[in-house]
């Protein structure tokens, strides 16, 4: 007990906080910081599994007509890779950072519903384990991560793997909805005094809007999953066309969830980028209002674009007009963000920490993924390239070159806050450059594979189609570099926890509230929550000669254009 009060006074490392010692303190915790860290650790565990699957995929495809994996195993592995990366890596990474930092950034002591928060995490973990348990049931699911009907029906997949898939996604989905509700209530009710919605940090803005997206999108998936389960177990025939159901109906349900899902994964990353760039460029975010507003626009539009995944299904011209138009429109608010971020860098004094390097790479790589996305909104181009490797290239640029690069930027940025130690910048730089080479080498060439007629989800390709073999070999070799870079990242996360340089409370000179408390924060977060007068509560403390109030007043008066 004596020890406890002593350590609490100066918590220097997460390893020495008495409340966080011992496994029991973690499994029984309702502390949003512990839950956030457990979310991230869970996600990293599944990331490791997803990477093993990716490695197997790239080995199989390295040479044409390879027999390394059987068609059956290959199908299981790419299905598990996709499902894992979306539901067990992307979602928990995003939710973990949200539940850790939203309360800190708004000056709250915890989430609004701490036990619901724990529930959300544990149900996700349980769902993830259940999905992997399917390997022991005879067969993992093998219908792909979007599991089109009627291939997902018992008539075609009689193994219980597909049933595990349904239950696992239902569980993780329920957890995501719980956490989304929790974030919304937290942000609406627990903000520090003076922090109105115009003073909310952009990460919190985007996470909040994101929570609304989760709230409206995931129920569509859950509905479809329950219907599929009824089909498989009770012969309900929702998706069995031969008996009066509709195979196409599944696609509508799935993509009504599936497209907003892409934004669910990327919006919090937009938030991270909007925190990282200003701090390292030493400038306020450029166009706060446009950034927050364009996020609302994206959220609304994301529910009106789902059928662009179905342009090859023969829905008909009127449908194409609407969904092509909306899909192209959504590029506009996204473009606004890119230009606002560049404008934030412009004229700044940029410190290229590893975090900032990842944020910079994000800007370019996400733009590539966004531009190929616009190409898919042009219906005739989609008619040629959908379901080809061009799509595989596109969404890996969005989800890996965009989402994962942004999340990693956030992890380098916030790791000192979470643990009290810096991540090694030396390892960080090796990680960054290898990942740039590995990522672009693996995925850029996939655009060309698609343009050379290679469909996605094939376990092999004919040896006599020119160029496919060398392109696949290049991709596989680059994938090895990508894996190496991520292993360095994992090593960095572990080594720095023990040997990482000690971090001060505000090591990057950030100006949002999480930097106002110690690193790592004490269990109760803040001894005293300050009154919030502007968007950068810590600015005045760092720059007493340039008070934020005066800067804002000058801007209102038109002085900012100087």
């Amino acid at each position: 007990m004596n020890q406890m009060s002593q350590a609490q006074a100066v918590p220097r490392s997460i390893r020495t906080i008495p409340e966080y010692r011992g496994l029991l303190s973690w499994v029984s915790s309702v502390d949003h910081k512990q839950i956030g860290i457990m979310y991230l650790l869970g996600a990293l565990l599944f990331l490791l599994l997803g990477l093993v699957e990716a490695t197997l995929i790239r080995i199989q495809l390295a040479v044409p007509e390879n027999t390394f994996l059987s068609p059956d195993s290959y199908s299981q592995i790419f299905t598990m890779h996709g499902t894992t990366m979306i539901f067990l890596v992307g979602m928990p990474l995003m939710l973990g950072l949200s539940v850790y930092f939203v309360p800190l950034m708004i000056g709250a002591r915890d989430m609004a519903f701490p036990r619901l928060n724990a529930f959300g995490f544990w149900i996700f973990l349980f769902g993830g384990f259940l999905l992997y348990f399917s390997f022991m049931s005879g067969s993992a699911p093998l219908a792909g991560w979007f599991a089109y009907a009627p291939l997902n029906e018992k008539a075609y997949l009689f193994n219980s793997g597909q049933d595990y898939w349904v239950i696992a996604l239902l569980l993780t989905g329920a957890g995501s909805i719980a956490t989304a509700i929790n974030v919304i209530v937290t942000v609406f009710t627990l903000r520090a005094p003076g922090m109105n919605f115009r003073r909310l940090p952009l990460f919190v803005w985007m996470t909040t809007i994101n929570s609304f997206l989760i709230l409206f999108a995931l129920p569509a998936l859950n509905t479809a999953l329950v219907m599929l389960f009824a089909d498989r177990q009770l012969d309900a025939l929702f998706f069995v066309s031969a008996k009066g159901g509709s195979a196409l109906l599944w696609q509508h349900y799935f993509w009504f969830f599936g497209h907003p899902e892409v934004y669910i994964l990327i919006l919090p990353v937009f938030g991270i980028i909007s925190e990282v760039i200003p701090v390292f460029a030493r400038k306020p975010i450029y166009g706060y209002g446009f950034l927050a507003g364009s996020t609302v626009a994206i959220a609304f539009l994301s529910f009106a674009v789902w059928a662009h995944h179905m342009f090859a299904t023969g829905l008909g011209f009127p449908v194409y007009y609407v969904f092509a138009g909306a899909s192209m429109l959504i590029a506009v608010p996204t473009g606004i963000k890119i230009f606002n971020w560049i404008a934030t860098m412009w004229g700044g004094s940029i410190r290229f920490t590893t975090s900032m390097l990842f944020a910079t790479a994000f800007l370019i790589q996400f733009t590539i993924g966004g531009l190929s996305g616009v190409a898919f909104a042009a219906v005739p181009i989609d008619w040629q390239l959908t379901d080809s490797y061009f799509v595989v290239a596109h969404f890996h640029y969005v989800l890996l070159g965009g989402m994962l690069f942004g999340i990693i930027s956030g992890i380098y940025y916030w790791y000192p806050k979470m643990t009290g130690h810096f991540l090694s910048e030396k390892l960080g730089r090796a990680h960054f450059w290898l990942m740039i080479i590995g990522f672009n080498g693996t995925f850029f060439v996939m655009h060309l594979m698609g343009l050379f007629g290679m469909p996605r989800r094939v376990f092999t390709y004919p040896a006599d189609i020119p160029y496919l073999a060398p392109m696949n070999m290049l991709s596989s070799c680059s994938a090895a570099v990508l894996m190496l870079s991520l292993l360095i990242f994992f090593a960095n996360l572990i080594v720095s926890l023990y040997r990482g340089e000690q971090a001060s409370d505000n090591p990057w000179e950030g100006w949002t509230l999480e930097w106002a408390t110690s690193s790592p924060p004490p269990p109760h977060n803040f001894d005293k929550v300050p009154y919030i007068r502007n968007r950068r509560p810590l600015w005045d403390q760092l720059h007493p000669d340039l008070p934020e109030a005066r800067l804002e007043a000058e801007h209102e008066a038109g002085g900012a254009s100087r």
Partner: protein, 310 residues
Amino acid sequence: MNIPSPLIPASLQARDINFLFQIVLIISAIILLVVAGLVLYSAVRFRRRPGDPVPTQDFGNTKLEITWTVIPLLIVTVMFFLSVRTMHAVDPPPLNRPPDIQVVAHQWWWEFSYPESGVITANELHIPIDKNLLFSVTSADVVHDFWVPQLARKIDAIPARKNFAWIAADQPGLYLGTCAEYCGVEHAWMRIRVVAQTPEEFSQWQKKQLAIPAKPTEPLAVKGYNVFMSRPCSSCHRIAGTPADKDIGPDLTHIGSRQTLAAGVFDNSPGNLEAWIADPQKFKPGCHMPDLQLEPAELTALTAYLEELQ
């Protein structure tokens, strides 16, 4: 060299789509150059140097931000209208015209039939050049997708639903295609070959396909015929002019005339055919053709008979 690439179009439709793709590619390349250029320029120009003062605290500029909202809006508006124009050029409505070709996708092979002439074939489609042909596409089981990039848009084959699209070819030649929607474990081996021929060659081919193969006379082939009819072969396949009339597996009336076997797994040769029938699960694991447990002598006879079906 046959490259199944939409960048090497061989029909009006594929050319129109390729033209649109080139425009979008150029626009995208310019945008990427601008964005990457600005990012890299700021990264170099504005990187922190020792002794830098606190930079000007710039909160934004509404006029500038409206500019970079309106410009992308204009670009996507142009792209939208170009897309609509191409959509109409490539995919005009069929207007109740009966299809020239019916495509039925199966796990994992293609059935092609020509309703006018009555020809039925598998995995290998023959078309006359310079003719816009309407094809209807459906599926006998799960969702598949018909994709021959050089000749036509891709179109899904969905059970209990008929989709229509147009296919054409400018020049005679072989055009490769494949199933483009994941349809189960053997999705990779569901390849399409389109043989585009001059009208004369095409009608010759059609005539040959309509001919009912003569009854075998050579003893080995006769034995093979008997094997086919008495063993489970005839409970799935059809051979015109014989009692075998099932349509669960591909029509074998002219199997000897096709270039490949098992939807692209091998070239069609007597050796490959025999190996395939002897152990389909070895070459296409998961496919619906069972191992028939034939004696080696039966196998040789059966191969001899099938090879005669030119």
